[in-house]
């Protein structure tokens, strides 16, 4: 395959390391604060390891602060880059979301407006990134569009409940649909890794899927409530489905990383720390940037080229190919 990546301007070389750091900071926050400290309180005699518990909590809180700053910087860099590369819709979407989130933080914007602005921003990403190039292939646009649909459906009950209370009790059905679509979206990521089967990635993916399967079968209650808190997934379906979806996501992330394409790993990482549905502005920002990076893989790939020695082609660069 021969392709030509043409941009109106070189992508900032420091975008990739910032994105990587953002994912790392938010993953540390997810692991230390949202998972470990919330489950550790159930351990009898926790007070005997109080110092260690407090250190981990502080690390998690610091990572949260760093994650907030980094995701904001990442959005600003991508917005400026988008403006300079002629992707003004993307620049406008990210700028408005940042502005609304900042206004909400100081209490100048109401919660319904914030929720609607968040859903509009997520919904605008496919129009800003994907449908801009006529050459986009299904492998490029199907996963992010599915994730956008998942987020929108999961977020709708919150707005419906606020704006039309009588309809609020109907949210459970929508959440089930969102969860089913989320699993399909995860599985669809496999299409982002072109070429023959990579056995190392298959091994890693099988291991991850196996761990999820065993955990869900052996201790469903704890895992399901952690999934609900952190990913917005309630565990409506059979454990095998979650194991398969996890294996697909890990295969795509590991395989693409191995090929030198960091966009899938970083995009998926941000979506995972963001979770589906409306939780907080930081999580919504992470999800939004995850979908942006999945939708416009050239962002990370061209930036990472300054750091990563070689970038192998993958099927998802068609949107920017000529």
């Amino acid at each position: 395959m021969t392709g030509k990546l043409r941009t109106s301007r070189a992508i900032e070389p420091y975008l990739y390391p910032i994105a990587l750091l953002t994912v790392a900071a938010l993953l540390i926050e997810l692991a230390a604060l949202r998972i470990l400290t919330r489950t550790a309180i159930h351990i009898p005699g926790l007070d005997r390891v109080a110092i260690g518990y407090r250190v981990i909590s502080e690390v998690g809180r610091f990572a949260f602060g760093a994650g907030v700053v980094l995701i904001a910087i990442l959005m600003i860099v991508v917005a400026i880059d988008g403006f300079e590369r002629g992707r003004r819709v993307l620049a406008a979407v990210l700028s408005i979301f940042l502005m609304v989130a900042a206004l909400a933080a100081v209490g100048a914007v109401g919660e319904t407006a914030l929720s609607v602005a968040t859903l509009l921003a997520v919904l605008a990403v496919p129009f800003a990134c994907l449908f801009r190039g006529s050459g986009s292939r299904p492998q490029v646009w199907v996963p992010p569009v599915l994730f956008v649909a998942v987020f929108t459906i999961a977020g709708l009950p919150l707005i419906v409940s606020g704006a039309a209370p009588d309809l609020g009790a109907s949210g459970t059905g929508l959440w089930q649909v969102a969860e089913a679509l989320a699993l399909i979206a995860g599985a669809s990521l496999v299409s982002r890794v072109a070429g023959p089967l990579m056995w190392k990635s298959v091994l890693v993916a099988s291991l991850a899927g196996g761990i999820v399967l065993v955990s869900l079968v052996a201790q469903p209650s704890t895992i399901e409530i952690l999934m609900l808190w952190n990913l917005g997934l309630a565990g409506y379906f059979h454990p095998l489905v979650y194991a398969a979806a996890t294996a697909s996501v890990v295969y795509a992330a590991h395989g693409a990383w191995h090929l030198g394409d960091r966009s899938v790993s970083i995009g998926v990482g941000l979506i995972v720390v963001g979770g589906i549905g409306l939780h907080s502005t930081i999580q919504s920002a992470a999800f939004l940037m995850g979908v942006v990076i999945l939708s416009d893989p050239t962002l990370i790939r061209a930036s990472a080229e300054h750091v990563v020695p070689s970038v192998a082609p993958s099927i998802d660069n068609a949107g920017a190919s000529h």
Binding site: Y14, L46, R87, V89
Partner: protein, 341 residues
């Protein structure tokens, strides 16, 4: 492989990028330290918010008061508590919550579907319907753990039970053989010992700092009344803004705090940890009376503004983008040739 037609100034470009990266990293570390040191909250929760509106009339404790018809309730999804045994299979799918304040007293009305009124527990296999409201012990939106608080941050729980509201029948209706002749406290050791379960009001005022630490507070001042109709329960609980003691939140107008709810369905054998719980949501105590123009008047206004600004800017951006893409490409392009070996 992708081969890059590198521009002559590529190295200096990358060096400039590295410098910017280190500057960004430094800014992030300093800002994160500042956020932690000054306890700044840069992110906003997007969970549901229950607004406690100012009431123009005293709603009282009557669960059927017409004051509750004048404000919009919030529907909260409940999930089965299944973190610690005994685990639930989900006895109640959702709870409807509304809140008011009048004369510096906070009133909370909770309604949920339950076709059976389980309000007597005079055998070991019978369990009572109940509902609970959980606040952080110190009113805040930086929350302790949802599950009964945590070691360093307690939660205050208002627990209404149908059976304690009805009271324990000392004399069975169907005979005198079980009747105990004495009625003074000496013959009722639990009452004499001050066991809160033996002399509990309809609403118990409790505090917890983790599983297994639930304790009744000395000040049992939470008022509450529940009534059951064909479709389910309606329960109203109330407490003055000023806390009656330690480990209980202070309420105040324009304050926002976290709150969570739990429902027990006695007919489903719910008791203790076998219950349906909500996630943490926020409760905002509003100084205004509800005006009946949507979820919140300020939110409606800002919603309209944000939507119009969003749509306007995106339309302009699309237009500009369309015009810009019709121009010839600039000279400062980066071209990347991709070829598969």
């Amino acid at each position: 492989m992708i081969e890059l037609d590198r521009a002559p100034d590529r190295t200096s470009y990358e060096m400039a990028g590295r410098r910017r990266f280190w500057i960004v990293l430094l800014v992030a570390v300093v800002a994160a330290t500042g956020i932690r040191a000054f306890d700044v909250k840069p992110a906003v929760a997007q969970s549901q918010t229950i607004t406690a509106w100012r009431s123009t009339v005293d709603p009282g404790l009557d669960p059927a008061s017409t004051a509750w018809d004048a404000v919009p309730p919030v529907f909260l999804q409940l999930t089965a508590q299944n973190v610690t045994p005994p685990m639930s299979d989900g006895g109640a799918p959702w709870v409807q919550v509304a809140a008011l304040h009048f004369d510096d007293v906070l009133y909370i009305n909770l309604r949920w579907v339950d076709l059976t009124a389980d309000d007597t527990t005079d055998s070991v296999a019978e369990f009572s319907d109940a509902v609970a409201v959980q606040f952080p012990a110190v009113a805040a939106t930086s929350v302790p753990a949802l599950c009964m608080g945590q070691a360093d941050t307690a939660v205050n729980i208002w627990h209404w039970r149908a059976d304690t509201q009805v009271g324990i029948a000392l004399t069975p209706e169907d005979g005198y053989v079980d009747m105990y002749p004495e009625s003074d406290e000496l013959h009722y050791p639990a009452v004499a010992a001050g066991n809160p379960m033996a002399s509990a009001p309809a609403v118990q005022n409790l505090v917890a700092g983790g599983f297994g630490t639930l304790t009744a507070l000395e000040s049992q001042v939470i008022a509450g009344v529940g009534s059951h109709r064909e479709t389910g329960w309606s329960v109203t609980m109330a407490r003055p803004f000023a806390p009656p003691g330690e480990l209980q939140p202070t309420f105040g107008v324009e304050e926002v705090m976290d709150v969570a709810f739990a429902v027990w369905n006695g007919d489903n054998d719910d008791r203790n940890g076998k219950k349906s719980v909500s996630a943490l949501v926020r409760m905002a105590i509003d100084d205004n009376a509800y005006e009946g123009v949507g979820p919140a008047s300020d939110s409606t206004t800002s919603l309209a503004v944000v939507t119009m600004v969003f749509a306007g800017v995106v339309m302009v951006a699309i237009l500009v983008s369309f015009v810009a893409t019709r121009r010839p490409e600039g000279e400062d392009e980066l071209e990347v040739e991709a070829s598969e070996g």
